[in-house]
Subunit: 284 residues, 4 copies
């Protein structure tokens, strides 16, 4: 089976970075199948992502990392090398609404999402049958409003036990505690059911209905300790009119939410999303 | 030349409204070419718009109004009858940016906007040549920050002298005084260069750039005394990415702004926009 | 449980239709919750759809039909009255690709599609487990290329036995025989995986890839005996670029197909689609 | 004034191209502000575009070309180096419809299109005043159906005299002779008023209306001797419904046409469009 290395880099921009990195890869015989670069002129920071056929190089992933480390140091790079032979482990968290979960499980089954799903965690037991039908363990971790700390400690244990590389809040509807957000910074993905920054917080479709907007949206973003304020990965919208009730907005919104979350997660899994302050560079 | 009557009605919803109105029109031999209705189930209010071939009825517009008045009273209607033979008079107000003005003048020339444009008013003199080339008078009314009241008194005199039915703020960039907003309530149309309610106020594209959104937008709305908070007529968006500078956002935004404003104004001129509290019913 | 009558009418346009129909409904105390009309100026044909609270009238559906028949005759109407208390019966037909099926079953479970699904018919056995997990019978009817007639006779028996009101080809990938198309004219809905009339026939995504188009699409249409040429109900598109392989086009296409089919079917079930020659009037 | 070099390359894909090219640029101290690459896995061809700050290198454009030539030869490259200090010369050709012309002239005035417009050529005299108001010469070259050759000989003389780098058919509505197409291959840009390959040829909006499509479109493509079959640069669509007459389709289409043509031309002027057989790679 052919596999790929993905080299993702960000560093202060200066002359010679591409030459140095591509020179190293060429010297190893590496065949680049996809390359993306971005120079942020405002902040002077440079971003790149290379996808390289693993079989074209004599190095395994650790060998690659070792050989590349001096270059990374020279250019003060923040960097990572992933090997598609090792699939990411993604824990899904849900509440009662099933649309995002059904969509992600379909895409996972169809091969659109290249990851393992070690388990699904929910504060309700409603979606157990669906999840277990897909052969995935389901953990019901109720959240007692009087003792949220206990619930989130249990969530964290489950996430760790699953050796999760990423956590997806697929309409989880609970606010994660700051400690958990920070521990998994840049690895917890949320879908918010509004076109942020409009209508942050609760019941965004009802807020949108009240304001009389003509488009509703959804936003996929990394979770930070500040609610609905993390780096945005992807957004999309759906047109609405005076004909539509709040229930229609919720229904249209489901379609936008699942599409936006699926795109965001796929890009994350393909190492296409680089965080830049509170923004993202997305090599889609 | 064939012309049309447009009957626009809103009233408390109850059984028999359509029957009564359409019965009246049919009794006069009126041929309905377009009909729209909407029942707002939440507020119990009913909205309708009928377009009727004027030649199919023996009544002129005033005769129609007189004959219809008892029905309107019976159902406690807010209503208006317009005759397309009388073109609306629309005053355009601009500042320095020309994109919306160029677009509106093109559409007006091409017959897409059925109105008179008695004059253009601006706080700068930059766009005079363009406007006068189209045969439209241009009034330069500078706004002295130290004495805005004088400027807006002059604006109001100009608008009145033009016998304006509507005023379009085609990127006018000045906040109208509350008195003017109220006097022309439901007849002053603004284009705001963001996807409201996100990024109200100044420099929305720069706000959008800072937040790292993946879509920017524009909003056409009726002006009320509360800034950027009036009833929304139309919105649209344009996709952006990390590649784009604030200048790119401004450039994409120009295209969205002019499209959204042109649609909103056209619908207003065709009596397709009915105000419902702080929202709109748009029979597009 | 409140239910609704849906009255759908088309007839030659003339003065007084709306007055007569709405007058009849008002005389019965009928409360209209949604009303749509369309006058096709080119062909002189008139279309309307009324949604009426059933409880607001003393008539049951048959009583309504009986009382309305003279009006229908007077105006030479093609018409139908449906009662939402009686849910339509929709047979789904699939081949091996599951994306449209998964999507329709999710929406059906979520209450977005108001119908019964008496069975799913497939020329392959692959999707049995999925369908049966939803509690729906699955009929495997293989299509022997050497004797298609036998297979389609069996299909027709199954459809009849299911007392189907509509048949949905959710990526069935077989051409129905003309007899079946005609027998269920206006009731067989197909999803074609291109932006018709471009790329009719086989392997449309590969055709699109070869031509180098920048947008791919999908088309939901009624099936007629002429392949991919029936009345179009709905279409949508997805942007593609040189980066995308034929496999990417297939993947994006799946999302467009399922969205377009779901909208088309929902509108059909809500009596929003009126056939007009080889075109449709869609009161969406 | 800072200017940029744009290096555009295509060649058979193999290990070491990026390394060699970026190594050369780095060795000259060149600062890369934008870089795009694409490996077409199907045809094994590689494409790249580099934008380099001219001031960061000691070479002028000719010096760059000379120094780069051996690398180009080594990798069998098709390549070009442009210098933004030399603005392209673009001849616009129009017929009677003004929408694309008005839009292009606005964008040109606003600085969105970085080119000279040495003249506008038309087979009618209608748009002279508009063009001359912008200070651009207008050549009226009538096309006598009985002697098209003479007209196109005159067109070709005008294009040559203008030292045109590109020709834009902004709704010119005449078919250019094959000789002209071949002579300016890859440099004549047309806007076709349909979503090609649907509705090639004449009166596409009427064809679309007859077929009852739910989306109409426009296509910007390079002109080849086969009508409406050249490499597609950009496409877009607009939603339509049964409410819309052919005249409405034409009106909506104008907006799509001008947007699509403007994007295509801008990308062409920025060397973002690389022709690959009958397709394009667009580094947008």
């Amino acid at each position: 089976m052919s596999h790929y290395y993905r080299l993702v880099v960000s560093c202060p921009d200066r002359v010679g970075i591409v030459s140095r990195v591509s020179g190293f890869i060429a010297s190893q015989g590496g065949s680049i199948t996809e390359a993306n670069q971005h120079s942020d002129l405002e902040t002077g920071r440079f971003f790149m992502r290379y996808e390289i056929q693993a079989d074209s190089m004599p190095l395994d992933a650790d060998g690659f990392r070792e050989a590349f480390a001096p270059i990374a140091e020279e250019f003060a790079m923040t960097w990572a090398l992933s090997d598609t032979a090792r699939r990411r482990r993604v824990v899904l968290m849900v509440s009662r609404a099933s649309h995002c979960l059904v969509d992600l499980l379909y895409r996972w089954t169809a091969g659109e999402l290249d990851c393992e799903i070690p388990c699904v965690i929910s504060n309700h037991d409603d979606l157990r049958a669906l999840v277990e039908w897909h052969g995935i363990p389901y953990h019901h971790v109720p959240v007692d409003p009087a003792d949220k700390a206990a619930a989130f400690a249990e969530v964290e244990r489950r996430v760790e036990a699953a050796e999760a590389d990423a956590v997806v809040l697929a309409r989880y509807m609970q606010i994660l505690p700051p400690g958990l957000c920070e521990r998994y910074a840049g690895r917890v993905i949320n879908i918010h059911h509004s076109f942020l920054p409009s209508f942050a917080g609760a019941r965004p479709y009802h807020q949108a209905y009240e304001r009389g907007v003509k488009l509703i949206g959804a936003t996929c973003h990394y979770v930070t300790s500040e609610l609905d304020a993390g780096p945005i990965i992807e957004q999309d919208i759906h047109r609405v009119s005076h004909c539509h009730t709040p229930q229609d907005l919720v229904r249209f919104g489901r379609d936008v939410e699942k599409a936006v979350l699926a795109r965001g997660l796929r890009w994350h899994l393909e190492d296409r999303v680089l965080i830049h302050g509170n923004k993202t560079v997305v090599f889609a």
